[in-house]
Symmetry: none
Subunit: 261 residues, 2 copies
């Protein structure tokens, strides 16, 4: 799903709300994971990265190698010796963690946390998200500094998100709520929807009839003509009735010349 | 962010809406990516995996090694020679792709597509999501079979989602909209939430101690100082344990000077 458009400018503004959201990796171990986290952030337009006490020091060549197009975030990353120092200038801090904690703390979904972050940032706050160590996550000492816990609503029987995946989901949530992409609305009929196999059989038949009738001319255009035709019939959701109607249309058209003879 | 609870049963029901949502990997190349996609699905409670013409054949030991706890999805995965056969029994198919296509097709956000999927599944449909090859994505021949395109709203200047990340985000969207997790929950650990009366008695005591120590100065500001203080301790929900702790804090601070005497 790679689709970087190199003609597009990086959409980053030091005045935009995203400039007030900081991602903080607490004692990450592998450089690769730091690089992957930077990529996950930049995929969704987040840029401010802070790192608390990275195990292998800083800068980290493995992080740079993994970050590739998001390397700018590593150049600009700020390194802190402790979580306390990393969050000192922030107004609200969220701690991502999957484990329930033996402490009184609000637990939010990523969705709700990012709604809250947008509200607070709109009021002029700087907001941070804490991400824990790869193996052990955040320690209680980190979590107590947060204003709320964020837990991704994973399958309770299988919760295996890694660091970069957690950063990806939070960053996605941030962007999803603010990017203003409008979905296109579709209209559904009352008839039963057709199965894809039924549509495919109808299209195979149509293609055969058209081929016999010399429709695909010149030859080298046939592939694209077929693709356009198939695309046309898959654009709208077809009903069983539509498919029956189309069979009738094809049959009638195909038989036409015989009658005229 | 690993937090699998091994006491929890896999929350899977052949009657649930998730049983009618199928993830289809089209000609995946690396077994590792198939395994990672299975993990991403199962993290969010999706189980039905179909694979079109996997490059390295099937079964694939690298996929099994990567899938770990999600290996059950690979055991149950259905293999098809073509995309057409893989979607034949489905009613609606979404194609994930980052690239704009030279064809008339509805483009949806993941959010909108999964809203739509829930509606269609609620009406009894079977819905599929197509995911493309690691390097080249979906071909036009795959995309024409889909009823709509889904594009993740990534940073246009940096779109580097890999296969498993794309599966992760779509699966997250599916679950986000349907899992019914409360957006915000006050977790108080093991301690019971404090009654308001207990908080009030503690605050009365604090106020008395502070008054004795000459804290409320000048006199005419006392009322607003007390209100601010009370407000501060009511902002967050306190537990019984918190109140006991605060009693101890007040007592210790109040007794401090006496000891020094």
């Amino acid at each position: 799903m790679s689709g970087t458009d190199h003609s597009k400018q990086h959409e980053w503004s030091e005045d935009g709300p995203e400039s007030r959201l900081v991602s903080i990796l607490v004692e990450p171990q592998m450089g690769e994971n730091i690089g992957a986290a930077a990529r996950a952030m930049w995929n969704f337009g987040l840029r401010h990265l802070r790192i608390v006490n990275p195990r292998d020091g800083w800068p980290n060549p493995a992080a740079v190698a993994m970050a590739s197009g998001a390397g700018g975030l590593l150049d600009e990353a700020r390194i802190f010796p402790t979580t306390g120092e990393a969050v000192a200038d922030l107004h609200t801090v969220f701690a991502t963690t999957a484990r329930p904690r033996e402490m009184a703390k609000t637990v939010m979904t990523p969705e709700h946390a990012m709604t809250r972050a947008r509200e607070l940032i709109g009021q002029g706050e700087r907001v941070g998200i804490l991400y824990g160590r790869e193996r052990t996550g955040l320690e209680n000492d980190d979590v107590v500094r947060a204003n709320a816990i964020v837990t991704v609503p994973v399958n309770p029987a299988f919760a295996s998100l890694n660091l970069a995946q957690c950063v990806l989901l939070m960053s996605y949530e941030w962007r999803r709520q603010g990017n203003g992409t409008e979905p296109e609305v579709e209209v559904t009929g009352r008839a039963a929807p057709a199965e894809h196999g039924a549509v495919a059989r109808m299209l195979d038949h149509l293609e055969g009839e058209l081929d016999q009738a010399g429709f695909f001319f010149p030859d080298h255009k046939k592939a694209s003509m077929v693709a356009n035709l198939r695309n046309l019939f898959h654009r709208a959701p077809l009903t069983d009735q539509d498919v029956r109607t189309l069979w009738g249309v094809i049959r009638t058209l195909a038989e036409g010349p015989k009658r005229r003879r």
